[in-house]
Symmetry: C2
């Protein structure tokens, strides 16, 4: 019923500007070799008509979709949410759009799911987050369809794809150094899931810092967790029930650190008075609990932005050697850590 005329096309613009559609196309795509006056006139008409090139047409003709895909598994993961945020914002800046695809990690047809998505949508690239970025099925589907992708925080780098990560070892080392500088010597550590390389790296950083300060790692103070709240709480319960308690606990992610907080509370220990607690990730709850958690912030937005850039730029230079970058992290010192109480 709308009396609104249908959207203007490139033909309308060309006609009004008195040029060919090819010239309009040139201006829109910022190609060189257009007379400045011509360019200005075209732009004027574009603005006057509120003309927007239609993606489906550009896509069909030009062979690129201006779509980037974000593949993820665990939707609740704060990490993915922040990747997405960084990616959408940067996508807008470069004229792309982000399509999100949530996968069931356990399903049989992971490869089929990815393949179908990629073949119908033809995204110009995919952004992969853990644990999917290390899934053979996902990678195979992407390779088979010639879809460029970048891995964010993968278990291991690939020769044929760029990756972006932070230095887990160094971050854990810095956090441990912080605790040491606060006077702590009996610093417990709760390890993460054994099958994730980040667990080993963070543990490594912890050990490095202790050794650099001449402190002996104490097996009694090292517990195995699996990155969950419950394992953190149980590990802390073990650690804190001993007569000779640690004065600080470094949990290798925030969920476990929250578990430590809960255990301390249960046992009537005050944090940070009786016990300092540090986490890793800077998840949303970290800032919401009491006391607010000291933790490590990963450079997630930067990784996401860079991922978008790498994918978009890849078009101009498809044969470029894939980069593997390590980005700087940040220690977020809040209220759960304090100078060790003497006596």
């Amino acid at each position: 019923m709308s009396t609104r005329s249908s959207s203007p096309t490139i033909v309308d613009v060309a006609r009004q500007a008195g040029v060919s559609i090819k010239t309009v196309s040139r201006v829109l795509n910022q190609e060189p070799g257009v007379h400045e006056e011509t360019r200005a006139e075209v732009l004027r008409v574009v603005k006057a008509l509120r003309y927007r090139p239609k993606q489906s047409a550009r896509s069909l003709a030009g062979g690129r979709s201006f779509l980037l895909g974000l593949l993820y598994y665990d939707p609740s993961a704060a990490f993915v949410g922040r990747v997405q945020q960084g990616a959408t914002l940067h996508c807008r800046e470069v004229g792309y759009h982000l399509v999100v695809e949530s996968l069931h990690h356990d399903t049989r047809d992971l490869q089929e799911q990815v393949e179908r998505m990629v073949m119908t949508l033809r995204p110009d690239g995919m952004i992969l987050t853990p644990p999917l970025c290390d899934s053979r099925e996902v990678l195979d589907a992407l390779r088979e369809s010639d879809t460029p992708f970048v891995q964010i925080s993968p278990e291991r780098d690939l020769p044929d794809a760029p990756s972006l990560r932070m230095d887990d070892i160094r971050a854990a080392e810095d956090m441990t150094n912080l605790l040491i500088s606060l006077g702590h010597e009996r610093i417990a550590f709760i390890k993460g899931a054994p099958d994730q390389i980040a667990s080993a790296h963070r543990y490594q950083g912890y050990l490095d810092a202790l050794r650099a300060h001449g402190l002996q790692p104490d097996a009694q103070l090292i517990q195995q967790g699996s990155f969950s709240f419950d394992t953190g709480r149980e590990a802390a319960h073990q650690l804190l029930s001993r007569t000779l308690r640690p004065t600080a606990v470094f949990a290798s992610n925030d969920d476990m650190a929250l578990g430590v907080l809960a255990a301390a509370q249960r046992l009537g220990l005050s944090v940070p008075g009786d016990l300092s607690v540090a986490g890793f990730d800077d998840s949303p709850p970290a800032a919401l609990v009491w006391p607010a958690l000291t933790t490590v912030r990963q450079p997630v937005s930067e990784m996401a932005s860079l991922a978008v850039d790498l994918l978009v730029r890849r078009r101009s230079d498809p044969a470029a050697e894939p980069v593997h970058r390590v980005l700087p992290f940040e220690l977020v010192v809040r209220d759960s850590t304090a100078v060790r109480r003497r006596g």
Copy 2:
């Protein structure tokens, strides 16, 4: 360098199946009027060739993009994350894809942002979450571009768009009833941000439940918050410092309830021993804190699925009267609430 032949098109399928491309198109779009044998043969070839129709071509020719947009403002909001999850999963089932667009609520050019997104991408519909679903600029941009949209939990319903929401009044009433059934009579309430209709509704439900049980609302027990952790903590501090303390606090969202937990802990009150605490939303931290929070779960996945359905179906019946549905919620009883301790 790849020796891989380019993807098969509808022409390849038609040739191999010995039919016209029109017939292939009919089969793919499940149109009636194709001989069963012909249909089977086409499907066989489709499968053999691993043929997938290209979205950009379908989109350009058919005038629909198979893309749905999710517009949101606050990325960290757990609510939006769950909407997204529900939407992507259902999108896959119906052959659509979800494009996410994060907006800056405060920017001047909200309308311009939305208009640009919609005009280039031409999504077949948009899913709007609070607070954007009530933004005049967003709505105007959508209407002007003839883009169908559905509102999830809007402040108020619109005559020209479907909306999906839960019954806030009833949910708050049920939660209050739960506390009353546990023996509580001095039940405090922390209100949410005054500019959101949900705040008024939840407060209303609280009052309704009290009155139904012959309990007088006590102004001393009612505090104003604004849905943030800090306002929850402050309000709780006020409430719990009095000589005649409440035995239960109903915070009208989880973030504030977490603040109540923090305040109680600070004052040395045990939850739920000395104090029962209830929240609203079932945000991720709600299950992670100690004690785990009793709260209300909104039917978010259902709203998201329905939103997708409404948008997809709208194509077949664009003139249909927009529906305004109220979906059932769920009380999630965890560890922060208990029978009132006597004496």
